[in-house]
């Protein structure tokens, strides 16, 4: 009796919402094909996958690929390269949008502000291929940087062939591309700080610098914490699409990260199963980190990342 009623109610729901179901159908299929089917494909990490035999006929090897992974001498290198690029990127790159936003906030000339803001966001919209092409030209033997070095009496340096320069080049490029756009979110937060606070501080005789320390920065604190958490949550992800454009075998020592290795070993050298084991390691740890970051953020201010 109850079963029947439930069924009837369900049928009614489907009937009244038939258009909603219909709308969602293509979306559902798309996610199945392009997101969940690949997730199913993760099982090749437990196989000796053979592209001719396919998933269903390849040999199963259990955890063998993972065992190789954790004893692979490249593994620690990939791990530390991934972490170091992100950590140095955060140390040098994270404060800059905040500083820029505070600077913009002090500008009263509307036209100047608008033009300079427009300029500062621009690099964010330029493609990685173009940006990295420019970088390669600028740091090349006959490039701009070496021209300056030569003028200062130094020998030319072949920057992209020497491992120790890679991190600096990559992180500087990221900063160049992201600082202006990154400032937008802090400027929005600054706009939310009430002007009354500043007026009260003025009456109390506070200078600009004190106001920045005691009003502006505390006002930005929640946004800063959230942005920091988002960044920490994705600490195992580096823009591999950008690294691939820049690196070469001579600098794998510092430039090779999980994703670039997976790309090279898996897709170029066709060690599908082994590369997939590495990918699973990275995705799983990454998932836990993002999950934790989201959880902490939710605790802190009652909103979620997603």
């Amino acid at each position: 009796m109850l079963e029947k009623k439930k069924k009837k109610k369900k049928r009614l729901e489907i009937l009244t919402n038939k258009w909603l179901y219909l709308m969602f159908l293509p979306v559902f299929i798309w996610y199945l094909l392009f997101a969940y089917l690949p997730m199913g494909g993760m099982v090749i990490a437990f196989q000796k996958y053979d592209i001719v035999k396919g998933i269903f006929k390849s040999t199963w090897v259990g955890l063998t690929n993972f065992k190789i992974l954790f004893t692979d001498p490249y593994f620690p290198r990939l791990f530390s390269n991934t972490l170091l690029l992100n950590i140095f990127g955060l140390i040098f790159g994270f404060p800059l949008p905040i500083i820029l936003a505070i600077a913009f906030n002090e500008i009263r000339r509307k036209k100047f502000k608008k033009i300079t803001q427009t300029i500062s966001y621009l690099p964010y919209f330029i493609s990685s291929v173009v940006v990295m092409s420019m970088v390669i030209q600028f740091v090349s033997n006959s490039g701009l940087i070496n021209m300056v070095l030569n003028k200062l009496g130094h020998e030319s340096i072949n920057f992209l062939q020497i491992p120790k320069y890679f991190r600096t080049i990559f992180i500087t490029t990221g900063i160049w591309q992201g600082t202006g756009f990154g400032a937008i979110i802090y400027m929005a937060a600054l706009a939310g700080i009430s002007t009354e606070q500043y007026e009260a501080a003025t009456v109390d005789g506070a200078g600009k610098f004190q106001k920045m320390l005691y009003i502006t920065l505390p006002g930005l604190a929640p946004t800063i914490v959230i942005m920091l958490l988002i960044n920490l949550g994705s600490i195992l992800n580096v823009g591999h699409e950008r690294i691939i454009l820049l690196y070469n075998p001579a600098i794998y020592e510092t430039a090779d990260v999980f994703n670039t290795y997976v790309y090279r070993e898996g897709l170029a050298n066709r060690r599908y199963s082994y590369a997939q084991a590495m990918s699973i390691f990275q995705n799983t740890v990454g998932f836990v980190l993002v999950y934790l970051a989201n959880k902490i953020t939710r605790k802190l201010d009652g909103t979620t990342l997603w």
């Binding site: 219909l22 559902f28 392009f34 820029l100 690099p123 330029i126 092409s133 979110i185 909103t303």
Partner: protein, 292 residues
Amino acid sequence: MKQKMGFSEVVFVSICYIIIIFVCVVTLYPFIYLISASFSSATSVMKNEVVLFPKEFTTKAYRVVMEYKGIWLSYLNTLFYTFFGTLLSLALTILAAYPLSKERWAPRKAMSLFIVFTMWFGGGMIPFYLVMRGLNLLDSRLGILLYPAISAFYVIIFRTHFQSLPASLEESAKLEGANDAQILMRIIIPLSKPIMAAVALYYAVGRWNSYFWEMLLLSSNKKFPVQVLLQRIIISSQLGQDIAKALTRGEASIPTTIKFAAIVITTVPIILIYPFLQKYFVNGALVGSVKE
């Protein structure tokens, strides 16, 4: 009441101006150099004589690049992928978000998780490639349109926006006998134009700039978008016969000025359109941050 600024105030504001001007100079200089060098003679670029303005002004590099038909073909491809890709993305994103915004829709919670989970976790590069291969979407224009069609992030932005619209709109339309599809098309979408513009722009920029999967999935030159062609010309030394023949002009490698001209030609549309659309970009960035 306007107060006169004290000495420390003047110093503080001046520092702000200096920071901003510094950022702008550093941002713009590479572009200026690039453009100047691309209009300079090959020898003056080689000898590093170009600093700010073109030396020995010439449009030779541009003539060489423009005579190469491949670049125009790749341009058309990029326009195709960007235009139809953005349309497809926008349509699917709205179709995803609208049902998710309706409390009365029973699978709402489950389907939200179904979509949001993909932001946290993915199968990885290799299974994705194998799926594309299995679906027969290698070296296919359709494949390029489809593979990045929906971004969960923008679905959530649209869902939040739809939820913020007053329910009374829907109720009165329902009384007149309109169904959900009609309500979406005639009432909801006209009210969502600003957010559609912002999201469409981000999708379009993403399409315009995308190279990685295009590089992996496409194998015939005639389907390459401009970014992949540029990557071939400048970064990877594996030039196809036709590219080499058209651009090296008998030299051992492609001259720097020609590379610069190719970069400029592929980037100019973005730089020209961008200032006019900048307002929407900023709106879009903030729409996203509401949820962050």
